[in-house]
Symmetry: C3
Subunit: 213 residues, 3 copies
């Protein structure tokens, strides 16, 4: 791969990071509005839905202050997402395909970026993917707990955390094979994105017996 193409992929990564945070923040604002929270609740949930996964990851690997507290981008994205979601709430209805695709791209990006950051901070390659998955799903978990619901990522059998895990594992294997990080990130991110698109359009699910019954 020539350097220009790589450069373009890295820029793409930044765009996906911001878009993914923006969409996740929108889900936080929407959850808050659905529960009839006030403006404080809407803004806090937007911010945390967009950033809590990365914040918890950074606390766990000792990267303080967390990235979301070192740059104004995330606060700005959360406020913008809240400002757009509020008046648009009734029009929004079910998430549109555009939103789901951006969310899927964000899922892939957060999974690989979180895994890379964990590896850079010396986390064992077998455990680093767990931190990549945490980065991808942590915001949604915190959002759901704050509105007093069991996190949807633990209930919905759709490929979501599993898609993130597949992408994260590719990054860890790539690091173990001493590939350049950017290759692992592109491969892993694309895999997670593709699995998630399969879940959205083809209904791919992680089925397993119901042990409850």
């Amino acid at each position: 791969v020539d350097p220009d193409t790589l450069e373009r992929f890295i820029k793409l990564g930044h765009v996906v990071d911001l878009l993914g945070t923006f969409v996740a923040a929108g889900t936080g604002a929407a959850a808050a509005i659905r529960k009839e929270l006030d403006l404080v609740g809407i803004v806090v949930l937007a911010f945390l839905a967009g950033t809590a996964g990365g914040i918890i990851r950074d606390l766990l690997i000792g990267a303080v202050p967390p990235a979301a507290m070192s740059s104004l981008n995330y606060l700005f994205l959360a406020l913008t997402a809240a400002a757009i979601t509020m008046p648009g709430y009734r029009q929004l209805g079910q998430p549109k395909h555009t939103v789901l695709i951006v969310d899927a791209a964000g899922l892939g990006f957060f999974a690989v970026a979180g895994t890379e950051k964990a590896l850079v901070h010396g986390i064992h390659p077998v455990l680093a993917p767990a931190l990549g998955v945490l980065t991808a799903i942590g915001g949604g978990i915190v959002r759901d707990i704050l509105v007093n619901e069991i996190p949807v990522v633990f209930r919905d059998r759709s490929l979501y955390a599993t898609a993130a895990l597949a992408g994260a594992v590719v990054v860890a294997v790539g690091a173990w094979l001493q590939l350049r990080p950017v290759y692992g990130a592109i491969l892993g991110g694309t895999l997670a994105f593709a699995l998630r698109l399969g879940a959205i359009w083809l209904g791919w699910r992680l089925e397993f017996p119901n042990y409850q019954k």
Copy 2:
């Protein structure tokens, strides 16, 4: 302002810190009793309602161990608040005005002290007020999640987090103008206190459209 007056304000700050923690711990003990928790639940909720905001702030800015783990004062205050709240629970009824005023003073103190501490630890002046607000409302959020309720600070439209934010922003602007920190703290703390008193006595609220309906 002469040094003696400043000195008195700083001492006042220490008193408000302890009184605010004490009242917040009492709300934790009361929530635990209302949910019929046992003695363990009452003590843990009293401690966390009084300290969790500052603890999370300290984790985020890398000030470990957190202040609440470095001094015995907070544990002592939590135990005392629990010991007073338990036998007094039925008599207490709705919070009395004295309690609300002390809580309002605590809100102002936590907001400005949290913002100052974030600034000292190098947090961006635009983000530092968010950590001040977290210091002021974090204990209540953790308390409500532990008794399985949506945090009241996200539902009640009364000025609370908003009052804290106003005070925190004054501190950050003061720092940006290179005022002496104690002036920003006095101004910001007084503003937050006054806004909260307005919410208690005059019913000031943060109204905005209900996007749910």
Copy 3:
């Protein structure tokens, strides 16, 4: 006590650590199955029920990355516990006495090991036992919050956190008396274990007036 006996106690500690984590992870998997969570929920709850107490303790004392992220043992134990709990769920029914005894041993171990680690990291001897108790009960608290329930350790009046606290205090007093840590650990761990067995077999409870009524 001769060195060989001490050596055996230390090895026993490692075994109890792993067994305790394993049983706690099983309670996480069981809670997830009871709530009909999917495979992601089962694995995450198993891991966090086994490790969250120690993880939060390590964040609070600044020992990052936490022990559970530095060794593969805990992930392996969580996956194994989930794999055993899933097909066995219907057969398991009420926890058997074996499980309760292993859990009681784990409680004692986590309480004393958490207190020791806090002391080593310079936490005040009066506060270190709180971190020992957190180590012992934190996993169950996070498990219960994630399935949207008030933590059972705050509701059930059975000696559990209290047993852990008794053992943790012995360790702190031992350190204050400058005993060798291993003696305090053996004494404290045995006391917590015995109190918990008393709760299981003899129904020892921490009764106190119901202030709600």
